[in-house]
């Protein structure tokens, strides 16, 4: 096993790349924070503070030092997981974010299950029926999902399914009168309510979750469907598929048993990336559905000019993206024997 350096060096190179990207991310958030048209000292001391108090806080924050020193201070704080205090809530930013994150993860997870459950089978069908009417119908269906402004679809969904038909719950994570009924253990409402045995709350939560999650899922199914189709087309064009057909294997087993088996690894990668992209839709859909998650937090701190919180949110999204890329890369290595 002297071949260690052989597989170690790409890993080391990847670790180096990630470190550099992270550093770049920090530069970017630092620059955005400095560019913000908000005076951080005024935000802390208020409008009526005396000159002495202002000067004192100004120096305390290190704003009198050169920029590169400020950046190093920022790095030091981030390294010790100190992201400062939110101006809006007065709490540490990290605590705020950890508090809102479960709501978004719950939403995004349901959405990706729906998106993959819809997108993958449709993609396979579109590939098998290439250039037939099924393919065209699926193309229009999925591209429509990809072209919808999600905040608008959310409103139309609320108008139709909540206001007109009354099939689903409206805004928020549960009905008003259930709020506070279930102790906040994990932050995931479905898990918490199930743990507490409050099945009414659980039902209400599912009722509220289903519409935003379906819409998000539909919009992400477009990407998953398109990619599945093109992966499948590559497989179907290959000789082993012809062989399987020639030897009389049923079409179903040829497609699902043979060809589909070979694209699973690629699909995992795609779904991981689509999960990250859901964050973007979450920002908009949470605003429409008054969903108390990360997206709503992000837009509210943005409006307040809450510098620390905003920098941390942007940083977090970047880190999540890098992590998802890394995970999909690792999954690729684990599942695809050729990369070993």
């Amino acid at each position: 096993m002297l071949r260690n350096p052989g597989w170690l060096s790409p890993l080391l190179r990847q670790a180096g790349t990630i470190l550099v990207t992270l550093l770049g991310l920090l530069v970017l958030t630092f620059v955005i924070g400095r560019l913000m048209p908000v005076d951080p000292v005024r935000a802390i001391v208020g409008e009526e503070a005396t000159r002495e108090v202002y000067e004192h806080v100004y120096q305390q924050l290190g704003l009198d030092r050169p920029l590169w020193q400020q950046f190093l201070m920022y790095l030091r704080d981030v390294a010790s997981l100190d992201f400062g205090t939110s101006l809006r809530t007065g709490q540490p930013v990290l605590q705020d974010i950890l508090h809102v994150l479960p709501a978004t993860i719950e939403l995004a997870t349901f959405a990706i299950v729906i998106g993959a459950g819809l997108g993958i089978p449709l993609g396979v069908i579109a590939a098998v029926k290439k250039d037939r009417w099924q393919d065209h119908a699926i193309r229009v269906f999925s591209l429509t999902g990809h072209s919808m402004p999600i905040f608008w679809t959310g409103m139309i969904g609320l108008l139709v399914f909540y206001a007109a038909l009354g099939w689903v719950g409206g805004a928020g994570r549960m009905d008003q009168f259930y709020i506070g009924l279930v102790p906040d253990v994990t932050g995931f409402l479905l898990i918490d309510s199930a743990l507490a045995g409050e099945w009414d709350v659980f039902r209400s939560a599912v009722n509220h979750l289903i519409l935003p999650a379906s819409l998000l899922g539909y919009s992400s199914s477009a990407y998953i469907c398109r990619m599945t189709r093109s992966f499948m087309l590559d497989q179907i064009g290959q000789e082993y598929v012809t062989t399987a057909r020639v030897k009389g294997l049923s079409e179903r087993r040829t497609i699902w048993g043979h060809a589909f088996g070979n694209i699973r690894v690629q699909l995992v990668t795609i779904v991981a990336l689509a999960y990250g992209a859901l964050l973007e839709g979450a920002v908009l859909i949470e605003t429409v559905f008054a969903w108390p998650g990360f997206g709503q937090y992000l837009t509210s701190v943005l409006r307040m000019g809450d510098m620390n919180a905003l920098m941390t949110c942007v940083l977090l999204v970047g880190v999540i993206f890098i992590a998802l890329n890394l995970i999909s890369d690792l999954l690729y290595r684990v599942f695809d024997p050729r990369t070993r």
């Binding site: 550099v20 913000m36 048209p37 591209l143 072209s147 905040f151 608008w152 605003t287 943005l302």
Partner: protein, 301 residues
């Protein structure tokens, strides 16, 4: 180097059309034959017509308030109804088309050259220049475009122009990656070496020999990205970070209409359909362009 068709080249290969336009005409013909791409072409044609003729076609002044006629349902006088200040929604949609077109145009002329410059320089020089430029590209790529645009707008202040700048800042990396990949494929080509041996400067080689070769694929990629650009711009408008009221930007119209949504569905429905149609048109067109220009797909037929 005469392979590269130029606008000034006379003696057209086919009658009527200048040589540079023949491939374009072929592509348009191909797109027209596919029903979905044809739909995209029609919608875009309509968008351009609306933007150009909006002031003539609009039945009302898009900014004119009529407090006697607020929140009117669609009728013969107001085809798409009126908003909370009695402004005609159809007229506002028509004027909004010009804003959408402006966003598309400005983002394209900023993103194309930046992406092209970064990509070709990285690809041509390779080595350390390439590593540094691609790391920077990766950092920008590690964000979903809306989130990064949000952060930039927060830093720059909310307005339509700042939204366009923010979107441009987030939209160039895929173009740069593409231009780099293209450059790598013919960096070693003989005609590049020939130019180098003749003593051409790197800047001249990139500008004269590499950029023209990258142009077609970059144009396709830009078209494909336009759907995202439009959705991001509308999203920023919706969050109150893009175009500011009373501007008839479609996303901002949806944001203000949201308050009256339950009783007056037309306030949010029509601008939303407009956004959906334009972004769908770009997606269908991009899809068709990929088929039109992908030799692999052609052979399969």
């Amino acid at each position: 180097m005469t392979m590269i068709p130029t606008e000034t080249g006379h003696a057209p290969a086919r009658p009527r059309l200048p040589r540079a336009l023949v491939p374009l005409a072929n592509i348009l013909g191909f797109l027209w034959r596919s029903p979905t791409s044809a739909f995209g072409l029609i919608v875009l044609g309509l968008l351009i017509a609306m933007a150009l003729l909006g002031p003539v076609l609009a039945p009302y002044d898009p900014y004119a308030q009529d407090l006697q006629a607020t929140l009117q349902a669609p009728s013969a006088a107001h085809w798409f109804g009126t908003d909370e200040l009695g402004r005609d929604i159809l007229s506002r949609l028509l004027f909004g088309a010009a804003i959408t077109l402006r966003i598309i145009f400005l983002v394209t002329i900023v993103v194309g050259p930046i992406g092209m410059a970064v990509g070709t320089v990285a690809g041509y020089f390779g080595g350390r220049v390439d590593t540094v430029l691609m790391r920077v590209t990766d950092i920008f790529l590690s964000f979903p475009s809306l989130i990064l645009s949000l952060a930039f707008v927060a830093a720059l202040g909310p307005s339509l122009n700042n939204a366009i700048i923010a979107i441009s800042l987030t939209a160039w990396p895929p173009i740069a990656r593409l231009a780099r990949a293209e450059t790598l494929t013919f960096r070693k080509a003989d005609y590049i070496s020939a130019a180098r041996l003749q003593g051409a400067s790197p800047a001249r080689i990139i500008w004269k020999s590499i950029v023209p070769m990258c142009l077609p694929s970059v144009v396709i990629r830009l078209t494909l990205n336009m759907a995202t650009v439009i959705l991001t711009a509308a999203g920023l408008g919706f969050l109150g970070l893009g175009a500011q009221p009373p501007m008839p930007e479609w996303g901002a119209m949806i944001a203000t209409g949201r308050r009256y949504m339950i009783d007056s569905w037309w306030l949010v429905t029509f601008p939303g359909i407009a956004i959906l149609l334009v972004s769908l048109a770009f997606n269908l067109l991009g899809d068709g362009l990929r088929d039109a220009l992908d030799p692999k797909q052609m052979n399969r037929r």
